[in-house]
């Protein structure tokens, strides 16, 4: 009988990295305050004790610099994991990710590979204000050559991160910092989760709620409340927003005929827009209503708690949208 434990998402992420570092001597992590400090969220706590400071490499506060170094190291035989403390700092690494990492393989006619992972956080409601709270993952989805992963459970986080580390392409892996303490079952044995395979987190027949990252928990809570209104909601987590499992999303939309897409990034030109368009194109004649999108409000994330809370999708907003779509 395989052993399954309850781990937090932070523990699952840490375990994935530790196992891959044991498995492959080329894997190393670099970033700010990751060694003795174990990151500000303590996600990497203890790794330096096992792997030492060369493989859990503390860097200066130079995101562009150490991300660029990771690109070069990845091209020449290492498999770096870059730790970007807050996804908001994506702005600082964009040239290295977009113009370098994403394009090296293509520009070289397939001769150089960039097997690296950029881990970053997303998610608001931590009262961290406008520069430490954004969910900017859609930016990376826009770029050919990158893959973008958004785990929503400890199980998915571990399996997807192991796949990311073993992937020969640059992979951007976003963890919602509000989910680090979320617990869930995680098998002790080695497993990976392939990219481009959505997971039906809850089966239903009346409405499909496509949700990413922490919005999966929001969607599940809303689905639970919808039961009281005799609405059976299906919750689907794409898990990787690129590659995107379009088939599973379209099939669910055809089955339920009503769809809500929830993602914590900005909706405008964002992940919800892309998924809604995929569903509209793929299931148009089976839809009873236009696809509803719910994303972050189009404002910089405010500091004051009641203001910040108003910017993020929640159970109530999903519930109300679902009821409206179902005519209740």
């Amino acid at each position: 009988m395989p052993e399954t434990r309850e781990l937090t998402l932070a523990e699952a992420v840490r375990e994935a990295m530790a196992e891959e570092m044991r498995r492959d001597a080329r894997v190393f992590i670099c970033g700010e305050d990751i060694a003795e400090a174990g990151t500000v969220f303590k996600v990497l706590a203890g790794l330096v004790d096992e792997f030492g400071t060369e493989r859990v490499l503390d860097t200066p506060i130079s995101e562009a610099g150490f991300t660029g170094i990771a690109v070069g190291a990845a091209m020449t035989g290492m498999r770096p994991i870059v730790d970007i403390m807050f996804g908001d700092f994506s702005t600082l690494v964009m040239d290295q990710m977009v113009n370098q990492a994403a394009k090296v393989h293509y520009m070289s006619g397939g001769k150089w590979k960039v097997p690296m992972v950029m881990r970053a956080t997303l998610g608001a409601t931590r009262r961290s204000a406008a520069q430490h709270s954004q969910s900017l993952h859609a930016w990376f989805c826009h770029i050919p050559g990158l893959k973008v992963v958004l785990p929503s459970t400890p199980y998915d986080a571990k399996g997807l991160l192991k796949s990311a580390i073993r992937d020969d392409n640059p992979v951007v892996f976003f963890e919602d910092k509000m989910m680090y303490k979320l617990k869930g079952p995680v098998p002790a044995e080695d497993y990976t989760i392939p990219f481009g395979v959505a997971d039906v987190k809850r089966a239903g027949t009346d409405i499909t709620i496509v949700a990413t990252s922490s919005m999966v928990q929001v969607a599940l809570a809303a689905a639970h409340m919808l039961e009281e209104h005799d609405i059976s909601a299906e919750v689907i987590d794409p898990r990787t927003v690129w590659p995107l499992d379009e088939k599973t999303l379209i099939e669910s939309a055809k089955k339920t005929s009503r769809v809500i897409v929830v993602d914590e990034g900005y909706g405008r030109y964002g992940v919800t827009a892309e998924i809604a368009s995929v569903i509209a194109e793929g299931a148009f004649f089976d839809l009873e209503a236009p696809v509803k999108r719910i994303g972050a409000m189009h404002v910089p994330i405010p500091f004051s708690p009641p203001l910040e809370d108003a910017t993020v999708p929640n159970e109530q907003s999903v519930l109300q949208a679902a009821k409206a779509l179902c005519g209740r």
Binding site: F66, G72, A74, M75, T76, D95, S108, G109, K113
Partner: protein, 332 residues
């Protein structure tokens, strides 16, 4: 049939062979670039062409100090670096013309030549954009204990980019085997660097604890000898270095940059072309030392010219990639 009696080569003969080899490499770059200019102006070459003419001694002097498996990163003005590191003329021309037979199957073009076989991590069209890649390659070399060094070529324009200072700092902290080679050709595109670079260039590197030297970049012997010492030092584990090569771009920023008098004078260009041509400086010196005669240089010029012509014909005749190749190689 009689043959000359084998005897050990004298010191000066060995030296002459070495300089003649560098002469040939510089001529190869010069004639390659002249051919690029010709192709471009005859509208046979798409895109942009940034010529390396005038700076040949830097690429050749530095790359001659490297081992075949050492890494380089290059720039938008990168043809010289690629050729100096061992790229072949035919695949270079083919890539510049967007042909399948090119180094990158036509997907990279003039500004993105890359070739693992010669340690070329790629030319880069973001100014200073490869500084991280070169430093990362040095990190790999150190971790994997391969003994390789990485050379990052960039122009004085890249001194304005913050990335360079971030990675020089880390290279110094971690004693990485990387050499930052700044080709100071005086101009950031169409702007003299007196308008863009404050203070002193070398001390930007020494501030981070790098071993930093300045060299006369038109003198291939000086570049080679300095680079050799710097490379040996870095390879031995002494940490990163910064080599400032003072040079000059004989042509415009790109092939279409014809009217240049608003940013530099014809007299200035003329002075460099007539008095500071790296190819002529080397041949003049060798003749003054009786290491070779005019006929030898003429012979090399003629041999390289026919190699270049052959390579161009190959590239012109080579097929374009099939349109269905367009979405291949996006992912590994």
């Amino acid at each position: 049939m009689t043959t000359a009696v084998d005897r050990p080569k004298t010191q000066s003969e060995v030296e002459a062979q070495q300089w003649l080899h560098m002469y040939r490499r510089m001529v190869m770059i010069r004639l390659f670039e002249e051919q690029v200019n010709d192709l471009y102006t005859r509208a046979l070459m798409p895109g942009l062409a940034h010529l390396y003419i005038g700076e040949e001694a830097v690429a050749v002097g530095v790359c001659e100090a490297l081992e075949p498996n050492d890494y380089i990163t290059s720039t938008h003005r990168g043809h010289g670096h690629c050729l100096a590191k061992g790229a072949t003329l035919d695949k270079m021309f083919a890539e510049l013309l967007g042909k399948e037979a090119g180094y990158c199957k036509g997907k990279g073009g003039s500004m993105h030549i890359a070739d693992p076989d010669t340690g070329n991590l790629g030319a880069n069209a973001i100014v200073g954009g490869s500084a991280g890649i070169a430093t990362g390659a040095a990190l790999s070399a150190k971790r994997l204990k391969t003994g390789q060094v990485a050379v990052c070529f960039f122009g004085d324009g890249a001194l304005g980019q913050g990335l360079l200072y971030e990675v020089m700092n880390m290279a110094s902290l971690w004693k990485l085997p990387v050499i930052y080679v700044c080709e100071n050709n005086l101009y950031n595109e169409y702007t003299h660097n007196s308008e863009t670079a404050a203070g002193d260039m070398l001390t930007r590197a020494t501030a981070f604890g790098l071993h930093a030297l300045s060299v006369e970049g038109q003198d291939v012997r000086a570049v080679y000898q300095t680079a050799k010492a710097v490379v040996d030092r870095t390879r031995s584990g002494a940490g990163p270095a910064f080599l400032l090569c003072n040079t000059y771009r004989f042509m415009g920023h790109h092939v279409g940059d014809i009217n240049r008098e608003y940013y530099r004078s014809k007299q200035e260009e003329q002075m460099w072309k007539t008095q500071r041509d790296p190819i002529k400086l080397l041949s003049d010196w060798m003749m003054s030392q009786n290491l070779a005669d005019r006929a030898r240089f003429d012979q090399i010029q003629s041999e390289v010219k026919s190699e270049v012509e052959k390579a161009v014909q190959f590239a012109i005749a080579a097929p374009y990639p099939a349109p269905d190749k367009v979405d291949q190689d996006v992912y590994a």
